[in-house]
Symmetry: C2
Subunit: 165 residues, 2 copies
């Protein structure tokens, strides 16, 4: 693929929190995350897409064990900023593909998405950087998702097994 996919990772016991109807003007995400940081909650993914009609959604993941406390902080934050509601999913997992030199990682993302699609695994959230593509899936699908991603990038074979070019 012209890129070096060095590994795949799984964070199996995650929970996802989403604040809905977030007003889209400066200072708003800071107000949300200040509260969360003050509660000493470790946040993993943070995802925010563009707004529609001046409102957007901010989602983030935490360890499933931190969900209750996170929801308290999120609900307090949501009130202060005038967001409309908070939702959550207690049973999610993050599957990631890690690469070096993944500057043109479009092909890698496509291959990852294909692998999951072939297994009928639904992708709930996506976030990327040049060295990492992460998707959020249902926890029930997590182990199967990691396996299929390993297979798609030949990460499940010992170097000696790989076909010679």
């Amino acid at each position: 693929l012209g890129v070096h996919v060095s590994g795949a990772a799984l964070a199996k016991d995650e929970a996802r929190v989403t604040i809905h109807g977030v007003p889209d003007h400066p200072g708003v995400v800071h107000a949300i995350f200040r509260r969360i940081a003050e509660s000493n909650i470790v946040v993993d993914m943070i995802v925010q897409n563009v707004s529609t009609d001046a409102r957007t959604e901010v989602s983030f993941t935490v360890a499933a064990s931190e969900l209750a406390e996170t929801l308290r902080a999120a609900e307090a934050g949501a009130k202060v900023i005038g967001a409309t509601s908070v939702s959550h999913n207690a049973g999610v997992a993050k599957v990631s593909v890690v690469g070096l030199g993944m500057r043109t990682h479009t092909g890698v993302a496509t291959a990852m998405f294909q692998a999951l699609a072939d297994e009928d695994i639904n992708i709930q959230m996506i976030t990327t950087s040049e060295i990492k593509i992460s998707v959020l899936v249902d926890r029930e699908s997590a182990t199967r998702a990691l396996k299929i991603v390993h297979r798609a990038f030949a990460l499940d074979r010992a170097p000696a097994d790989l076909p010679r070019p």
Copy 2:
């Protein structure tokens, strides 16, 4: 902060494309990105948040010079998957904070969001990994955003200038 923020980066000439009303079932993002990969377009950020009423939005950024071709691929993909529309913004920039050991990067994210909020810079999209927090802002705000982030993390001082602990 207990983490090592090693640098900040700016990608100034980006364009953002969003596919709206994306049906949320397996295979859909693969259908979108297969087309984009086949056009040899290099995609930078990919952001997808959770769905509402079985539909979500998929946004991604490309070099501004690739926008026209990207829109062709995105519109073709949107048709095929039954999405409702495609929107774009030709004048955006990605500002990132890069760190090592940013495992508890909630504090770093909060500090980054505060720096931008203090400058009244609006955050359009957010994506994170353990080593990188990226936000999309208006291109007009880009240079100012980079400067304020440098200052917030004392990246604009030579090591000799930093206060001794």
